[in-house]
C-alpha cells in the first residue's frame, strides 16, 4: 500500500519538475506574441496569431476570441496590448492571457487592434486547431473527435501539423482518423481521398463504418453520393476489411464471454464433481454452499468496511479462505449428521440434502433478509479492457477465469499429490478394498464432503463479484452445475472442466443467435439427448460393475 503511494508521489514530483520550466518559457513567449498583436504590420500579426496557437498555453483561446470580438486594445501610454471591458463610461483593463486586472482607462487612452478579413480567417483557423494543441491529451482527443464529426477544409493543414508534432501514442490514431476524415471530405485529388479512405479502413469503430457507407449510398436518380469511382472502390474495400476485423473481434468477445461463463460453471460444479464422483452422493444443498460462501464474503466485507476501510481492496482475498472454512465446516457437519446414515441410498440422500437446502435458504433469509445484499468489487477488479469491435472484457470476469484455473490446479494437486488425495481416489475406485487396506473410509468421506463444500464456498466468493448475493443464489446454479457434471462425467476434474467450458461457450454462441432463454433451453435439451448416447458422461470412469 505504502509502496504504491510513494511511487505515485514520486511520479507526481517528476511530472512537476519536468513540466514547470518549459511552461514558464512558453508563457513568456506567449506574452511576447500577444504584444506582437499590437503591431502595425498584418504579416507580423498573422505570424503572432499562428505562433500563439502553436504554444498551446492556457488562455490563448480567450485572447484570440477577444481579438475576433474586437475587445483587444493597445494602451496608448505604454503601448501594451490589453483586454478591455466596457463598464459605464470607463473601460476596465486586463492582461489578455492571465486576465489580471490592470486598472481602468478612458476610451481615448486606447486604440483598437487592427482587423481585416484575411486576419479573421487566420484567427478562426487558429481557434479551430487550438484545442488540438492543448497540453492535456484528453483535450486533444476530444478536439480531434469534434473535427472528425464535421471536418472543415481549413483544418486539413492544421491536423497535418498537429499529427506531425503529436508524440502521445494514444492521441495519434485519433488525430490520424480525423485527418483522414478531413481529407476525405475536402481533399483536392481523388487519389488523396482514396488514400484517406484506406487510412479510415484501419479503424473499426461504427462511426467510421457509417461514414464510409454514406459514400456508397445511391440517391433516387441512381447516382452515388460519392462521384469518384476510385474513392468508392477504396471505400468498399475498406468496409470489407472492417467487417472482417469486427467479425474476428466479435468472435473473440463471445469466446471470452463463453469461457467466462464456463469458468463460473466450473467453479459451481467442481465441488459437486468431487462429492458425487468420490462418494456417489448427489448433494442438492451444494448450491447453498455456494450461497454461504457468498454471504461469508458479504459479512467479511461489512466488517472491513466498518472497522478497517483501508483494507477494503483485500477483503475478497481474506474472504476466500474464510468461505472455504465456513462452507467446509457446514459440509463436514452435514456429512456427519445426515449423509453418512444414507450411504448406498442415493435417491434418499438427494431428498435429504434437498430438504437441507430449503432449511439453509430459509435460515439465510431469516438472518440476512430476503433482499439482495451488496458485495462491492475491489478496485483491482473494476474496469474493463475494450476490444476493437466494442466488446468489453471486464476485469472481474478475467479474474474469475484466472481464479477458476487456480482452483482447478490446486484441486488436481490435492487429488494427485497428497496422501489424502490418494486415499480419496482409492475410496472412489473400490471402497471396500480401500477399507480393507486400512483407510478410514468414513473419515475420507467426511473430508471429501468438506472439501467439495469448501470449494463451493470459494465459488461463492467469485460469484459474489458478478451476481446478486441473495438466498436464491445457489438455486440459480444448481441445475446448471448438475448439467456440467453429468455432461463431463462424474468424478473427473478433466471432465468437469471440459463440460463447463463446452456448455459455457456453446451457451454464449447460441445466445447471440437465438436469445438467452432459448439458448439455455437448447443446451438443456442437448444435454438430455446427449445423456442417451453416453449415459455416464464424456469422461466416464471405467469399471466392471454392472450396477454402479
Amino acid at each position: 500500500m505504502f509502496e504504491k503511494l510513494s511511487g505515485l508521489l514520486a511520479a507526481f514530483a517528476c511530472i512537476c519538475v519536468l513540466s514547470t520550466s518549459p511552461v514558464v518559457a512558453q508563457d513568456s513567449k506567449a506574452v511576447d506574441l500577444v504584444q506582437d498583436l499590437g503591431s502595425r504590420s498584418y504579416s507580423k500579426i498573422i505570424k503572432a496569431v499562428n505562433g500563439l496557437a502553436a504554444t498551446g498555453v492556457n488562455g490563448v483561446e480567450g485572447v484570440l476570441n477577444a481579438y475576433l470580438s474586437r475587445n483587444l486594445f493597445v494602451r496608448k501610454s505604454d503601448k501594451r496590448v490589453v483586454f478591455a471591458k466596457k463598464t459605464d463610461s470607463q473601460y476596465r483593463l486586463f492582461a489578455p492571457l492571465t486576465r489580471q486586472s490592470l486598472g481602468t482607462a478612458k476610451r481615448s487612452d486606447l486604440t483598437k487592434l487592427r482587423l481585416n478579413n484575411r486576419l479573421r480567417r487566420t484567427l478562426r483557423a487558429a481557434l479551430g486547431g487550438l484545442t488540438l494543441r492543448s497540453s492535456d491529451p484528453a483535450q486533444r482527443i476530444k478536439a480531434a473527435n469534434v473535427v472528425f464529426k464535421a471536418p472543415k477544409a481549413s483544418q486539413v493543414s492544421i491536423l497535418k501539423k498537429v499529427l506531425a508534432a503529436e508524440k502521445d501514442e494514444n492521441v495519434r490514431p485519433v488525430i490520424e482518423r480525423s485527418l483522414a476524415a478531413a481529407v476525405l471530405a475536402h481533399g483536392a485529388t481523388s487519389k488523396a481521398r482514396a488514400e484517406a479512405v484506406i487510412v479510415l479502413g484501419t479503424y473499426s469503430d461504427p462511426d467510421v463504418s457509417a461514414r464510409l457507407k454514406s459514400l456508397l449510398i445511391k440517391d433516387s436518380a441512381g447516382r452515388f453520393a460519392e462521384k469518384e469511382p476510385l474513392v468508392r472502390e477504396a471505400a468498399q474495400k475498406a468496409l470489407d476489411e472492417i467487417a472482417e476485423r469486427v467479425a474476428i473481434w466479435d468472435f473473440i468477445g463471445k469466446l471470452f464471454q463463453g469461457v467466462s461463463l464456463g469458468s463460473v460453471l466450473l467453479l459451481a460444479a467442481i465441488g459437486l464433481a468431487i462429492t458425487f464422483g468420490v462418494m456417489g452422493v448427489i448433494n442438492m444443498a451444494h448450491g447453498e454452499m455456494v450461497m454461504i460462501g457468498a454471504y461469508t464474503t458479504f459479512v467479511i466485507q461489512e466488517i472491513i468496511r466498518t472497522s478497517a476501510p483501508a483494507f477494503f481492496d483485500v477483503s475478497v482475498i481474506i474472504a476466500i479462505p474464510m468461505a472455504f472454512l465456513v462452507a467446509g465446516a457446514f459440509g463436514v457437519a452435514i456429512e456427519r449428521g445426515i449423509i453418512r446414515y444414507l450411504y448406498g441410498r442415493p435417491l434418499e440422500t438427494l431428498l435429504a440434502t434437498w430438504g437441507l437446502s430449503l432449511i439453509l435458504q430459509q435460515m439465510v433469509r431469516t438472518i440476512f433478509g430476503p433482499t439482495n445484499r451488496e458485495v462491492g468489487n475491489p478496485s483491482w477488479m473494476t474496469g474493463a479492457i475494450e476490444l476493437d469491435g466494442g466488446a468489453l472484457l471486464t476485469y472481474n470476469r478475467i479474474w474469475i477465469i484466472v481464479f477458476s484455473v487456480v482452483v482447478l490446479v490446486l484441486l488436481a494437486l490435492v487429488l494427485k499429490k497428497t496422501a489424502f488425495g490418494l486415499q480419496m481416489r482409492a475410496v472412489t475406485q473400490n471402497r471396500r478394498m480401500a477399507s480393507a487396506m486400512g483407510i478410514r473410509t468414513g473419515w475420507v468421506d467426511a473430508m471429501t464432503f468438506g472439501l467439495g463444500s469448501g470449494v463451493a464456498g470459494v465459488a461463492g466468493v467469485a460469484l459474489s463479484q458478478i451476481d446478486n448475493v441473495s438466498p436464491n443464489l445457489g438455486q440459480a446454479y444448481i441445475v446448471d452445475s448438475f448439467m456440467v457434471v453429468v455432461f463431463g462425467g462424474v468424478g473427473n476434474l478433466l471432465g468437469t472442466l471440459f463440460g463447463a467450458l463446452t456448455l459455457g461457450v456453446a451457451n454464449k454462441f447460441l445466445e447471440a443467435w437465438s436469445g438467452a432463454v432459448l439458448a439455455k433451453i437448447f443446451i438443456l435439451v442437448a444435454v438430455i439427448l446427449f445423456i442417451q448416447k453416453r449415459p455416464s458422461g464424456i469422461f466416464a470412469l471405467k469399471g466392471r460393475a454392472v450396477d454402479s
Binding site: 438427494l350 430438504g355 432449511i359 432463454v517 439455455k520 438430455i528 449415459p535
Partner: protein, 387 residues
C-alpha cells in the same frame, strides 16, 4: 402385495386393506361434502364453505399426482424429479380450453384472441390454440400432451439405460427447460402470468357452488379410478416384474424381460395420470402459470410420497394431503417457518421414516406385538431361547 386366488373383477382389492379404507373414505367424502356444502344452509354450523370444497379438491389433485409418482418410484424405482411438468402440461391444456370459453368477456373484449395475445399485439390465434374451444378435443390433449412427452422422454432414457440419479437429474433438466420455455411470452401461453380469469366450464359458471362441488366429485372419481388402475397393475404379473425391476433391474433383464418396455409403459401411464391431475387442478384454483414447472415443485411431490410411504399407493395420497394441509396451515399462520418445516420433513423422513407413515405404523405394531409375545413366551416357557 400377496396375490390372492383371483375370482371376480375386483379380486385384487381383497388383500388391500388400506386401499379399501382409502376408497371408503373417498366415497364418504363424495357423499358428505355435497350435502354439507349444497344442502345445509349457510347459517348451519356444519355448512362447508365453497372455498373449503375447492381446497379439498386441490388436495385431491395433489393426491392423484402423488399417486402417479408412487407408481413409478415406489414400484419401479424411477425417481422422476420432473413430474410437475406433466401435471403442468395437463393443466395448460385445460387452461387453454377455459381461456377459449372466456370468448369476448375478456378485458379487451376480443372474441377470437385471449387477453394476453391482444396485449402482445398478436393478430391471429397461433395454430396450436386451434381446437381448444372444443371440450372433447381439450380432454384428448390433456391426456395426449403429457402422455406423449412422457413416452418420448421415457423412450429416450430407458432405451439407453439411464437410471438412478442420472434419470432424476435429467428429468429435472426437462422440467427446468419447460419452465424457461413457458416463461417466454413468444410461446403463446401467457408468459409469466400464465392463464387465468376463467369464466365458465362446459357452460357452467366456474365460481358457482354447484360447479365447484362437481369438480370436487370429478377429482374424487379420477383419484379413485386411478387408484384402482394402479392397484390392478401392481397386483398383476406386470406389477411383479415392475417390483423386480425396482429391486434388481439387471437380474430381471438377464431373465429375459424387456425392462425398458415395462418402464416405458408405467412411466407413460404415470405421466397421463399426472396430466389428468393437472387438468382437474386448474379449474379449481383458477390459474395455471409456469411456476408449476419449477424443479422445486417436482421435488416436493416426491416428499409427499416419501412421507406417506412409497410403494403403498394410498400412502402417497395420504402424504400429499397431509403435507399440503400443513402447507396451508403454516403459510397462513407462520409463513417464515414453512420452509423450515418442509426441509425438516425431507431430512427427518429420509432418516427416521424410510417407509413413510403407512409403512411405519404396521411395523411399529408388529414390533410391539413381537415384544409382547416374546415377554409372554419368556413368562411361560423359561429356559427356552429362540435363535
Amino acid at each position: 402385495m400377496s396375490m390372492t386366488q383371483s375370482n371376480g373383477p375386483f379380486s385384487f382389492l381383497y388383500a388391500d386393506k388400506g386401499g379399501q379404507i382409502f376408497l371408503a373414505i373417498l366415497f364418504g367424502a363424495a357423499v358428505l361434502v355435497p350435502i354439507l356444502n349444497l344442502v345445509l344452509p349457510a347459517s348451519s354450523v356444519f355448512h362447508m364453505p365453497t372455498w373449503v370444497v375447492s381446497l379439498l379438491g386441490k388436495y385431491l389433485c395433489f393426491a392423484l399426482l402423488a399417486l402417479s409418482v408412487d407408481l413409478i418410484w415406489g414400484f419401479c424405482g424411477i425417481l422422476s424429479l420432473g413430474h410437475g411438468a406433466f401435471f403442468a402440461l395437463g393443466g395448460y391444456a385445460m387452461g387453454m380450453y377455459l381461456m377459449r370459453q372466456i370468448g369476448d368477456r375478456g378485458v379487451y373484449g376480443n372474441a377470437t384472441l385471449p387477453d394476453f395475445m391482444v396485449f402482445l399485439n398478436w393478430k391471429e390465434l397461433p395454430w396450436y390454440w386451434h381446437g381448444f374451444d372444443n371440450f372433447a378435443f381439450a380432454m384428448v390433449m390433456v391426456l395426449l400432451v403429457p402422455g406423449l412427452l412422457g413416452f418420448v422422454f421415457g423412450w429416450l432414457t430407458f432405451r439407453s439405460r439411464v437410471t438412478g440419479v442420472y434419470l432424476s437429474i435429467i428429468s429435472q433438466a426437462m422440467t427446468y427447460a419447460l419452465l424457461l420455455a413457458f416463461f417466454r411470452n413468444d410461446m403463446g401461453f401467457g408468459g409469466n402470468n400464465g392463464l387465468t380469469d376463467f369464466k365458465d366450464i362446459l357452460g357452467f359458471d366456474i365460481q358457482a357452488n354447484g360447479t365447484r362441488v362437481s369438480l370436487f366429485l370429478a377429482s374424487i372419481v379420477a383419484l379413485a379410478s386411478c387408484y384402482l388402475i394402479c392397484r390392478y397393475i401392481v397386483s398383476s404379473k406386470l406389477g411383479r416384474v415392475l417390483i423386480g425391476i425396482r429391486d434388481a433391474e439387471n437380474r430381471v433383464r438377464f431373465l429375459g424381460y424387456r425392462v425398458e418396455h415395462y418402464k416405458l409403459f408405467v412411466f407413460t401411464l404415470s405421466s397421463l395420470m399426472a396430466g389428468v391431475a393437472g387438468a382437474l387442478y386448474v379449474p379449481q384454483v383458477g390459474i395455471i402459470n409456469p411456476s408449476e414447472f419449477s424443479p422445486a415443485n417436482s421435488i416436493e411431490i416426491v416428499i409427499w410420497v416419501a412421507i406417506g410411504g412409497r410403494g403403498s399407493l394410498y400412502g402417497a395420497a395420504l402424504g400429499a394431503i397431509l403435507v399440503n394441509y400443513g402447507k396451508t396451515y403454516f403459510t397462513g399462520a407462520l409463513p417464515e417457518a414453512w420452509l423450515f418445516v418442509l426441509g425438516g420433513l425431507f431430512v427427518a423422513v429420509t432418516l427416521f421414516l424410510p417407509k413413510g407413515i403407512v409403512g411405519t405404523v404396521p411395523s411399529f405394531k408388529a414390533m410391539t406385538r413381537s415384544r409382547n409375545s416374546r415377554s409372554e413366551t419368556a413368562k411361560t416357557a423359561t429356559g427356552e431361547t429362540d435363535g
